[in-house]
């Protein structure tokens, strides 16, 4: 991973942010990300992000749970150790529905949360660069990745014109690293060239 150059524009109102996103995209700048204190609905569409398919993953985990439960229980109660419970049938599907349902939910929920953490690269001790400390408080922080050709002063002025209350130029690691907020362990140290 490498450090990159970013221009950061902070907005304090989502009503100003939306037209700004439109303008930035029309001007052809490369939107790195927008950091918001809460889920701003419609912002993902405005940025041109594709729909997440995490729910599809959830469905797959769910049916995995269903098949796990049904195959295990049926094998156990009909093949491995068929218990005679009051002469009732060994293959007692209605009685297995509760556990099958619970395992479906369990697999879907655990799988989805793990997938979510993996996709977003979230884990304890994971550190990421924070472009603005108030991005988790009250600011909508738009981050634009610079190329060699980007005139950063122009871009800053452009953002200010679009309604940003604060602009900034930052050279930062775009990926995550490991650390515990008083100690950094940079696994990418040594490859410290600027890709801009």
């Amino acid at each position: 991973m490498a450090k990159k150059k970013f221009v950061v524009g902070c907005f304090d109102d989502e009503e100003v942010l939306f037209p700004a996103v439109k303008k930035v995209r029309r001007a052809g700048y490369k939107l790195h990300d927008i950091y918001t204190p809460f889920a701003v609905h419609g912002l993902d569409h405005a940025m041109g992000l594709r729909e997440t398919s995490i729910h599809t993953a959830g469905f797959i985990y769910g049916i995995t749970g269903t098949t796990t439960a049904l195959s295990c229980i049926s094998w156990i109660l009909t093949k491995d150790w068929p218990l005679n419970i009051g002469g009732k049938p060994h293959f007692a599907l209605p009685a297995w529905i509760p556990i099958t349902f619970e395992l479906t939910v369990m697999f879907a929920a655990v799988g989805m949360v793990l997938t979510f953490c993996y996709l977003c690269q979230l884990a304890p001790f994971v550190k990421k660069h924070h472009f603005h400390a108030r991005a988790t408080d009250d600011l909508f922080v738009m981050v634009i990745e610079c190329t060699e050709k980007t005139n950063t002063d122009d871009l800053k002025a452009f953002l200010t014109n679009s309604g940003a209350i604060e602009t900034d130029l930052q050279i930062a690691e775009a990926d995550w690293w490991v650390g515990s907020y008083d100690k950094d362990e940079m696994p990418f140290e040594g490859k410290k060239e600027i890709a801009a």
Binding site: F18, R134, D138
Partner: protein, 489 residues
């Protein structure tokens, strides 16, 4: 740009003149301040109760189940009563966080975090009872199906008691995941405003490196929605399965087909009462009256009077069936052991009737629903009543069975049985006090999301929209912004 427009007729969910920063301040400040004296006193009492509970459990584990006053006829007593009571309390949290999310009820945002925490702690407390009731608690892992050297001898997948193992453990896991995924953004807020190194380090670790990236929020929203969709049938299944513990047996008083809906309604009823007790204290102590408004309290009281009445109808249906079935054992259980005031446990039945069915009817009056003191008093009464309900179901059905020679002597709990129950109160409140001090008790990010549509000051500003004609409103851009954004994408 109003992503969602809300009518002026609806009560604001956030009172006072707030902006995003003020919301963060209001909710996170108690975490950063030193706890009050009252907090310490409460916490110490909770820890003392917990210690007493630990000692009671130690007696039970060391000397055996004989430390409790259970006998051959009343094999389930306080322990299972308490188990069902705690599990039921947990249900309100999931109902608020999941069911109300699916129904798009905005008022859930003020109360969901604390209610979910309550769910998790209540399920932790509930789990203790069946585990220690096993007697040889060190063999508790036998309930798990795993290849073993005893045959392998598997667990009985056809037994409701095993369904319970799966239901409760799934319920606990899913609630915990749902709760924690919602906490990530709020932990990140605390981290980013931390003044001390230690706080930054601890909350930074807890926040998993959350940044608030739009893509992450998009996945987060999708995750919450699917988890809510999963939790909704889950919460219904959990108490249904708990009721199967009773309903699949052939004991008069238990062998009833209305048990699942009746138990689920009762669970929601007691859970909402517990949420009320806790939140009324939390909003007072932390000064969160602007976020947990009288509107929130009123909404929950409406749920209480509804579910209380559902439970009341279930009681009456049982009595009716006790007569209509013309089964003398059923009739004896319902009309003598329960409904006859001067039978040995008649007091518990009428205690239940008074607390659960009669007294919540006070909430038909708006004035009462919006009265904090009445609500607090009623929330305690309802929980006492719901404890009686479980006691009635379990003990009055068991103490006189088909064979008069095995009829039980009067059952009253031993000190260690009561101590175990008090201990779970200790566990619950120890956890809750720690939660209230170190966790954001209200979902900050979710409040911010609804702030501009339901906040007091923002609603006022939108008031003029109600007076313009629909033609003007449609062309003013309101409600069409999301469409524009699609076009931009």
């Amino acid at each position: 740009m109003h992503l969602k427009y809300e009518s002026q007729l609806r009560e604001p969910l956030v009172n006072g003149n707030k902006d995003y920063h003020q919301v963060t301040e209001d909710i996170l400040r108690p975490i950063e301040a030193k706890p009050s004296k009252l907090w310490y006193i409460g916490f110490y009492i909770a820890v003392c109760l917990l210690m007493f509970g630990v000692y009671s459990v130690y007696r039970e584990v060391t000397y055996g189940i004989g430390q409790w006053n259970l006998n051959k006829t009343i094999g389930w007593g306080w322990d299972i009563t308490n188990f069902v009571w705690w599990v039921g309390i947990g249900h309100a949290g999931t109902l608020i966080s999941a069911v109300l999310l699916l129904f798009r009820q905005g008022w859930r945002t003020g109360v969901n975090r604390a209610a979910e925490a309550m769910t998790i702690f209540a399920v932790m407390c509930a789990g203790q009872f069946p585990i220690f009731h096993m007697g040889r608690v060190w063999m508790a892992f036998f309930v798990m199906p795993y290849p073993n050297s005893r045959g392998p001898l598997w667990v009985n997948f056809n037994s409701p008691l095993l369904w319970d193992v799966f239901a409760i453990s799934t319920y606990f896991t899913v609630s915990l995941l749902f709760w924690y995924s919602g906490l990530l953004p709020d932990f990140a807020s605390i981290r980013d405003r931390a003044k001390t190194k230690l706080r930054q380090k601890l909350y930074g670790t807890a926040a998993f490196g959350w940044t608030g990236s739009t893509k992450h929020w998009q996945r987060h929203e999708s995750l919450s929605l699917v988890l809510a969709g999963l939790s909704t049938p889950l919460v219904l299944s959990v108490h249904t399965i708990v009721s199967f513990d009773f309903a699949t047996s052939v004991i008069p008083g238990w062998h009833t087909t209305i048990f699942p809906p009746y138990f689920v309604a009762g669970a929601i009823f007691s859970g909402f009462a517990m949420v009320q007790s806790l939140l009324l204290i939390v909003r007072k102590v932390f000064g969160l009256e602007d976020y947990i408004t009288l509107g929130h309290i009123e909404a929950m009281n409406k749920v209480i009077v509804l579910t209380g009445s559902v439970v009341g109808i279930a009681y009456l249906t049982e009595l009716f069936m006790g007569w209509y079935s013309q089964n003398k054992y059923e009739g004896y259980t319902f009309w003598y052991s329960r409904a006859y005031l001067f039978s040995p446990y008649g007091w518990s039945y009428w205690g239940m009737m008074t607390c659960n069915v009669l007294s919540p009817q006070i909430f038909w009056f708006r004035k009462m629903r919006r009265n904090v003191y009445v609500t607090f008093f009623m929330s305690i009464i309802v929980n006492v009543g719901m404890w009686f309900e479980r006691f009635v179901i379990i003990v009055t059905s068991l103490y006189r069975d088909y064979l008069p020679s095995s009829w039980s002597v009067y059952y009253s709990p031993s000190t260690w049985e009561i101590g175990f129950y008090l201990g779970t109160f200790g566990l619950f409140f120890t956890c809750f006090f720690l939660f209230a001090k170190y966790f954001p008790v209200i979902a900050v990010a979710e409040i911010k999301y609804v702030l501009k549509t339901t906040g007091d000051n923002y609603k006022e500003k939108m008031g003029h929209l109600e007076r313009v004609s629909s033609e003007v409103f449609a062309h003013s851009g309101h409600g069409h912004t999301t469409v524009d954004n699609h076009a931009a994408g």
